[in-house]
Structure formats: structure tokens, C-alpha cells
Symmetry: C2
């Protein structure tokens, strides 16, 4: 069951002037499931994105990257139920046909449409269903459709993920609203399997592209469910320019404030993906500090986060914490002095001097392990770099969900 | 349930002159479980070994490596039920006390004893139980005790693993007998969590050390269950010299023949570990060929072998083979042209040209997936290097075993 995340409409989910969203049931998924989303943009909306680094990246990823070079994007189209990945040339054709069909309905060029897909890999995209479903999605376009849009892009997710935030920039209210999906095959290497954030701030294309990479690195790129990097990851940042004066330099205070606010929205969406991770029962924050560089902090954090033994111990609420030491030990850090490491569970010092801390009592570890949210902190004590990774445990339900996924 | 592996005494399990084994119940594990093994060696037996690269390596690993430099080993002692890892200085003291106690009983020096432990990490070794149990193990010493020894070193394993083989070297019969344990925390990076192979061949210490590394790389280092490299991995090769003329050079035919035979025994034991992997229901051989070098073949093979999504698809017998493409895609190979790759399931061509092969029918994939033993073959078509990795699937029982491990 999702951990501390509400399936209800967030109290404050705000539309973004210049962005409207339309949903349809195209019949790609089982009956009574919305599976098609169109996001239409006013002329002049800036769009920047980051995509999966998986070499078997999906056809829509290839097409979206190509179309993004055009710089005058008017629409995004997202289908769920089929990833259109591992589909070769016919997959590319289907992605292009999707764009062309929507472009005709919106009276723009196919190159002004970005396609996205999520679902089963290596099965042909049901292109007829998408072509037939697009008119209904276009007819449904409206600005306050963000929550329904968050619903329409889910796959194995249980809870729709949507967040809004408002800040003041130069005395002007700026709104940021985003949605994301993802539950399994989550170990983003660029961005996660589908995040869309829009703001009405005014910013240049080049600054927006710079910002999207920073935001991804500090949000979606900090989560993992199962260590499987998806073929379809994409995170798109849209800036409509309907509010405020243009941000023209990374040096101005407004750039930093906007970047910080968008990162906050993005990190909240990213954590929601982990809270709704396949079969998750615990939300785990792994903080590694005192490292020589980011690379070694990340190696330690992800090795712990991906260890099936650590993840099943969390599922069982079993403070079998030697498994965390073992994971640190094989994480591949050069010349690691294990005697210099401290391991904490929340504020409980568990291990130091190469073994169990003298004051550690298993009852203290047990108390923390019983909680639904747990922080693991590893102090490497060999530098000043810190990193944080969010992950979840590994349960029977993860196996069930992925064993039954196509049935 | 273990896959195609018999729990019964192998028909041909041969003693090795110069090696005797004794077992006891020291009370480290639950009642009625043998948990202590002594292997006593004649004077002059050559011993070589490889050990885990985990930086949090166990106290007995540290002590055994140190004692091995002495070059006149007279005994090995193995306890199960406790890994004596993540135990700091007191763990080192306990390992030394174990050696000293056994040395007194066998009338040798503590430095002539190698200690090994396997079980829970970060819990104090019950040293009194070991001290009290050693006399019974010594009293039990006999040459034909290999199968009981294989039993005594098990942890979560279901089936004892023991193999014998005889070859002719220079007209002389040479015998090789080995045992191993391991079921979870299996991703050896040097050797697996406890393998012991003895031969009566005559060979120098330096050649034996060279051979043990080769054998490990071609057997135990080719398996993975869950990707967790243990703190206690150790693989020891013992040569008693009771049969045949001495092998003095890697150039002579006998060296190659012996190495090949020991590798065959070792690889069979390694595959038995996977067949008895925690919760395993399928035995998977992953063969990657046409790579530029061993490193990239291994990256692809282990990425497939460790993907929870691939492993749960095997558990479900679901030919959701796009997950294998996704794993290949994120394995981290430089400039991988996915259009040049072929993916086979046994002899069924599943994917090529970046997607599903035109002749592939899901019923053919389904037929292979239903089998208890499956070969995945990835043809990278960019070089001449090949590697093979053996692994198993990921089931409810893996989660259950590791959630309940200490309860």
C-alpha cells in the first residue's frame, strides 16, 4: 500500500495559463481506464526536457528529442498501456503517425508535437486505437484538468501524483504545477518515467534547458524502486511566460528562486513515486555524507537501495542491519576504511569501528524499523560531500505485481 | 524448490588421501543442526585460496588471509549460523581464539589453522559454543565424511553440494572432491561463500595459487542469485600430493588437464548453488557473445541477471521479454547500437533490428519460459568475446526466506 500519500485531489492544484489538458479512453488499457492524454500549449510556450539514457530507448523518446530541436512545441501526447519501446522501425512510424494525427486536430505541424508512451515493452503500439481516441482527448481540453491527467498516465501506480506551488518573483505571483507517474522499472538516469511540470514564469529556452537538468538531478534522479532504468523516462518542463518579466540570466535572484521552487515540486513528485512504488510498505531515505565526491556517495547509497537483502529486511521490519554493512562493503569504493564508518538508523547509532556500536541495543533498532518512514545515514568520514536517495522496500507484492503484470 | 539437483548422497563421492573431516553440533544454530566442521590436513598439503573483495570482509577472512602466508596449513575450521562479520576487534579475537583452540587439539600452531564463518552478520560469534564443540568435531575426523561436511556448512541452502571427479595425469589416477554452500547473498567477487575442493595431485604452492584464481573466475565468479556480494566468500583449493608426480610448470600438459578438471568440479558446485538459490524455481544461463571485451559482456550478463523485473518475469513464466531489452539498454555499454543485437531464448530468435523479430511468435517464447532451465543468449555482434553467467529467478519465497531469516 502506498506510504503516506493521499489518493485524493490535492487541496491546491492550480491551472497554468497557457496550458490545457484533455483525457480520453482510447482502449489501449482494459475497459474503463483512461489511457490517453493531450497537453496543448499556447504559442510561445518554452519546453525543455531530459530523457532516459537507456540505449534501448523507446520510439517516442527518439521522436520527442528530435522534435524538441524545433523549439516551437504546441502539444504533448501521452499514452499508457504500451511503451512503444523495442519496436524497431514500425515503432518510430507509429510515434510519427501519432504526432501527425494530433497536429491535424490542433492545426499545427507534426514536428510541433512531442509523443510519450508508457506500458509494456516490445509489443506493437495499437496505433488505430490512438488515432481514434485523439479527437475525444482534444474535445476534452481544459486548463483545470491536471488531476485527471495524473490519473490517465498511471500504469501499475495506485495513486495519481500531482503537486502545485506558488512563489513570488519580483513582486509577481508565479505558479508551478506538475504531474508524474511511475511505480516500477524506476531508477531514473536523466529523469523518471514521465514527469510534466508547467509554470507561467517567463524564461528563455536555453535557461529552461539548463534548469531542467538541475531539477532532474535533484529530484527524479535521486529515486529508485528496483534499479531498472526504464526505456521511456522523460521529464518535461514547460514555461508559458503568462506571468512576470523574463528571467534572462542564471545570475539573477529570480532564476535561483524559480529553480528552487520547481525542484521542490519535482522532488515531491519523485518521492510520491517511491511512496507508490510497486508493493512498497516502507519509505526509506538513504543519506550518505562525508564522502570524497558525489560519485562515491551515490555508489554507497544506490548499493544499499538496490540490495534485495536490505530491502527484504525493511519489509520484515527486521533490524538485520549487518546487511547494510555488507552492501557498503561491496559498493566499490576505493580504499574504504570500514573502521571509520558510522551507520545510523534515524538517530540510533548502529555501527562504528568496523562493527556493532557499543551502545547499540536491538530494541532501539527494532523501534525504528517498525516505522513506515526510515532514514538510513552512512557517515563515511573521509570528505565533505553528501547525497540523498529515496527508495522503498521489497515485498511479496512487488513479486506478485511483476509476475502478473501482463496477465 | 531446488532445480534439478538431488538432495541425496552422490553415487561417487571419493575421499582424498591426506584430508579428513569431522562434524559437530556446537549449538550455534537451532538444536539438531550440525554447525561446526573441521578439515584436518596431513603435513605438507598445499593450500591456496581466494576471498571476498567486500571491504566489510569478515574477521575469519582477515585471519585466514594472514595465516595463509604461513604456507604450512594443518586445518580448516568452519562454523555456520554466525558470519563473524561486522564484529570489529572482538570478532578478530574470536577468530584467533577458534584457531588457537583447534591448534591445541591437533598439536599444531594457531597460525596453521584457517577459520571460516557463515551466517548472520553483525552479531557476536558465540565463541564458548565453538570452543566447547571443537573436541567433538576432532573426535569425528575421518576421510569419508565429505557429504556430512557439505551438510554441516549449509545456512539457508536446502541441498548439500558435493562433487567428485577422477582424471588420469601421466598414467596416474588423480581424484578431486569438493563441497560448497551458498543460497543467498550470492554474487561472488573472488569466490563464493564457502567452497572447498581437495585433490591428491602434487603441485607447487605458487602454481596452486595461480590455478585457484583461474578456477574461481570460471566457476564461482560466474554465478549470482541476488547481486549481494557476501562479507565471507572464500574458496579454498587443497592439494595433498598423495598421488602422482609433481606438476612444476604451467607449460606441462598435466597443469592444463588438472586445471580443467578442477574447474569442472568447481563450476558444477557453483551451478548447484544457483539451483538451490533462495526461492529459486528456474535455472537461467545467460550467455553474451560478440562483445568487444570481457567487461562489456559481463556488464550485459549481470544487468540481465540482477534485474528484478527480468527475474520476476522468469518466476511467472511470462515471456515479457522487453524487460531483457531494457536491461541490455541500461547496462552501461558505450556506443551500443541496439539495432545490431539479437536476443535468443534457447533457440528462439526473439528480437533483432531494435525490436521484436519478424518471425517471433509469443507461443514459442512461452514454450521456453515454461521450462525449469532456460538459456538467454544475447549476440552483441561487435566483437569476439563471450561470457556466461548462471542465475535463478526471483520468487515469493526469496522474499519470505529473507524476511524471516532471523525469526
Amino acid at each position: 500500500m502506498p506510504i503516506n500519500i493521499s489518493p485524493l485531489l490535492p487541496e491546491k492544484l492550480l491551472p497554468i495559463a497557457g496550458v490545457s489538458l484533455g483525457i480520453a479512453e482510447a482502449g489501449i488499457k482494459k475497459p474503463d481506464h483512461k489511457d490517453l492524454l493531450v497537453i496543448a500549449l499556447d504559442d510561445g510556450v518554452k519546453v525543455a526536457g531530459v530523457f532516459t539514457k537507456n540505449r534501448f530507448c523507446a520510439a517516442p523518446v527518439i521522436v520527442a528529442k528530435l522534435h524538441l530541436t524545433e523549439n516551437s512545441i504546441r502539444a504533448l501526447v501521452v499514452n499508457t498501456g504500451n511503451a512503444n519501446a523495442g519496436t524497431g522501425n514500425s515503432g518510430l512510424e507509429h510515434a510519427c503517425t501519432t504526432c501527425a494525427t494530433l497536429a491535424k486536430l490542433l492545426d499545427c505541424k507534426a514536428q510541433q508535437v512531442l509523443p510519450f508512451s508508457t506500458g509494456v515493452i516490445m509489443e506493437p503500439l495499437p496505433i488505430e486505437a490512438i488515432i481514434n481516441g485523439l479527437p475525444a482527448a482534444v474535445a476534452d481540453l481544459k486548463p483545470d484538468n491536471w488531476f485527471d491527467a495524473a490519473h490517465a498516465i498511471l500504469t501499475t501506480d495506485i495513486v495519481p501524483k500531482a503537486v502545485s506551488k506558488q512563489i513570488q518573483l519580483n513582486g509577481q505571483a508565479i505558479t508551478i504545477t506538475g504531474i508524474a507517474k511511475g511505480s516500477g522499472m524506476i531508477r531514473p538516469n536523466m529523469a523518471t518515467m514521465l514527469g510534466f511540470i508547467a509554470t507561467d514564469a517567463t524564461i528563455s529556452q536555453s535557461l529552461l534547458q539548463q534548469m531542467v537538468q538541475y531539477v532532474a538531478n535533484h529530484s527524479f534522479n535521486c529515486i529508485t524502486v528496483d534499479g531498472d532504468t526504464s526505456t521511456n523516462d522523460a521529464f518535461m518542463l514547460l514555461a508559458t511566460g503568462h506571468a512576470g518579466a523574463e528571467i534572462t540570466s542564471t545570475e539573477c535572484a529570480a532564476f535561483g528562486l524559480l529553480q528552487e521552487a520547481i525542484t521542490a515540486v519535482s522532488a515531491e513528485l519523485a518521492r510520491m513515486i517511491v511512496r507508490d512504488g510497486e508493493g512498497a510498505t516502507k519509505f526509506i531515505t538513504i543519506q550518505v555524507d562525508g564522502g570524497k565526491d558525489l560519485d562515491e556517495c551515490a555508489k554507497v547509497a544506490y548499493t544499499i537501495a538496490h540490495s534485495p537483502l536490505v530491502k527484504t529486511a525493511f519489509f520484515a521490519s527486521d533490524p538485520n542491519l549487518g546487511r547494510i554493512l555488507a552492501a557498503i562493503g561491496y559498493s566499490g569504493i576505493n580504499e574504504l576504511n570500514v573502521n571509520g564508518i558510522q551507520l545510523y538508523l534515524d538517530n540510533v547509532l548502529v555501527a562504528e569501528n568496523g562493527g556493532r556500536a557499543s551502545g547499540y541495543e536491538e530494541t532501539d533498532g527494532q523501534q525504528v524499523m517498525n516505522q513506515p518512514e526510515i532514514t538510513v545515514r552512512v557517515a563515511l568520514n573521509r570528505g565533505t560531500t553528501t547525497t540523498t536517495v529515496w527508495t522503498c522496500d521489497f515485498s511479496y507484492d512487488y513479486v506478485r505485481i511483476n509476475a502478473e503484470y501482463r496477465s
